[in-house]
Symmetry: C2
Subunit: 347 residues, 2 copies
Amino acid sequence: MSRETEPRSKVTIYDIAARAKVSPMTVSRVINNTGKISEKTRARVRRVMEELNYVPNQMARSLVLQETRILFLLITDITNPFFTTVARGAEDAARKLGYHVLFGNSDESLDKEAEYVQTILSMRVDGVLFAPAGDLSRPHLEKLKAHKVPFVLLDREVPGIECDAVLGDSKEAARRLTELLIERGHRRIAMVNGSSVASSARLRLEGYREALKMHQLPFDERYVHESSFSRLADLSAMEAWFANLHPAPTAVFAGNNVLAVEIIQIIRGRGLKIPEDVSVVCFDELGAATELDPFLTVAAQQAYQLGYLGMQLLVERIREGDKAGPWKKLMLPAELIERRSVASPRT
Amino acid sequence: MSRETEPRSKVTIYDIAARAKVSPMTVSRVINNTGKISEKTRARVRRVMEELNYVPNQMARSLVLQETRILFLLITDITNPFFTTVARGAEDAARKLGYHVLFGNSDESLDKEAEYVQTILSMRVDGVLFAPAGDLSRPHLEKLKAHKVPFVLLDREVPGIECDAVLGDSKEAARRLTELLIERGHRRIAMVNGSSVASSARLRLEGYREALKMHQLPFDERYVHESSFSRLADLSAMEAWFANLHPAPTAVFAGNNVLAVEIIQIIRGRGLKIPEDVSVVCFDELGAATELDPFLTVAAQQAYQLGYLGMQLLVERIREGDKAGPWKKLMLPAELIERRSVASPRT
DNA sequence: TCCGATAATGTTATCGGTAACTCTAACCTA
DNA sequence: TAGGTTAGAGTTACCGATAACATTATCGGA
């Protein structure tokens, strides 16, 4: 019946203006609370806006304002509780600061990452919180720089790229995690690590080596296996590596939570018990479900904080604009949580 | 020095056009592969585009094309592995179909949900995969309908809203999960459930009741506790409920993975062992970390498929446009996975 | 009483693209 | 050889908003 009251899908400020008998500009002023408007017109325009169920078109606004109020979050593994917790922190911060979040999941793949960089550029997002796949992400980041898209690196740094970053203190936490094993009496400590193209993996290895050195233990590269921070379909390489370690390690340090799960399955698959036969420690919590059975001794990174502070830093940088201050690097310590996966080695 | 080669941030088709000595329209045609362009001009335009590092402005395009190629994914708990797996499936599908994904996390809160609906409308996204907080989400969905934004409901339906949906078969899986307990000899089976404002919670309760009925067991509402599908800070209500159940149940059916973790902590907190003293089953897997200790008997929903198929359905609906076919409802069965959290009750 | 300041609103150009239409040669055909 | 096609462009208007400037009405003070 009454066509008027039925909200059509495409109401614009022009429709509002016509009905309220004002110019579109006046409507715009009411929406944005700018300029001088008499209370009378303001009320009238407001009423018409409600009648017609008006919602401003953010795309049109973005085009003229040259800002989208969208921030992009690029992570490398959306199934990893570490990153989903980061995502939560990032979203909370962005919302609080008046931004929306577009997200992408590179799966540690450079190709996917490249695609996302293209998306980021064409969407004209205001900034990016970027967990790079690795050192080879450099050209992607340079592309962002060339297009003047502000970004903050997350979790990993990239040599040759100067920028803001939020990071966990990988080296220090790795050192302490390794020392914890040494203090329990372990002498043959193996390490499974993510790919060394990731700075975090390199720093964790460094921390591990440093701990060994501090306690006059030899470093034997055969005891280090490089795999991937994200789940691998084929674990046979890791399995073969572990099976062929002689003498067998009494403890294993896993570079992150995913690797921990993988190596534990391999260890148990060989009929060994944790921690009786082999102790295990790792980076990052395994997710809320592990509260059921708090088992693994971990260095828990402040994932939520990394996401939250990362977005804050990003927005600061965006607001600074051209008068760029010095690059900021936030390095958050990890918390060592001792549970039941570590014991002294058999004598 | 050479200003020319330094890529500035705001290259437009007009810059390309000027340099290639053609009209902007010709550039547009080259970009979109439309119309007739001679190979010579096409090559020239392409070259200039590369020289200037041109990236099309998606916002401008969206404005004129009246489509954004963005789909929105609204979930209720981003820390729940069920939903992150959904998100992964959703993103994979969207990418494959040429869409980007904006995401939001309502935390089961109607207020946050309302804010996201506003975002969805103002961003003019092409469609929404929507996990509603509950029945009271209805006005939000009606708003989407009023604005002709296509959406597909995820995980839960909302009475009074006719639309597409992708769902797990809650009732059937709940029935089988309960029957499994009954077949093991349990007679006093308690249930902790999510809020009954969610259709999934109601259906799981129905399945539970149906199973009892089929086996001539009485339904006692005191054995059912309504809590929340997402993590609660305060578990004292659940704790009091469980402590005051006399006679004590020999098994508990948890409405989802989060509730399972909570009730298990309560059970164990009372010095009871699972499954020796109390058996526990639940909906949804607890996340990859539980592979370490596959313990809980669950009805595993096909989370990835729900996300993937949801986005597919959404895109189909978008492409159909006005000539709308009938509403489609995809109901995916859950897989019963028997593990170690169920035993026969003590005699 | 006339002028300038101020409040309240309107007009025009623009953001970066694309649709729809127009234009101009060259080419083909009867 | 006139008239119609077609390839390969260009022109114009518009998507929905806002910035910058222009315009009118009102009012106080000299």
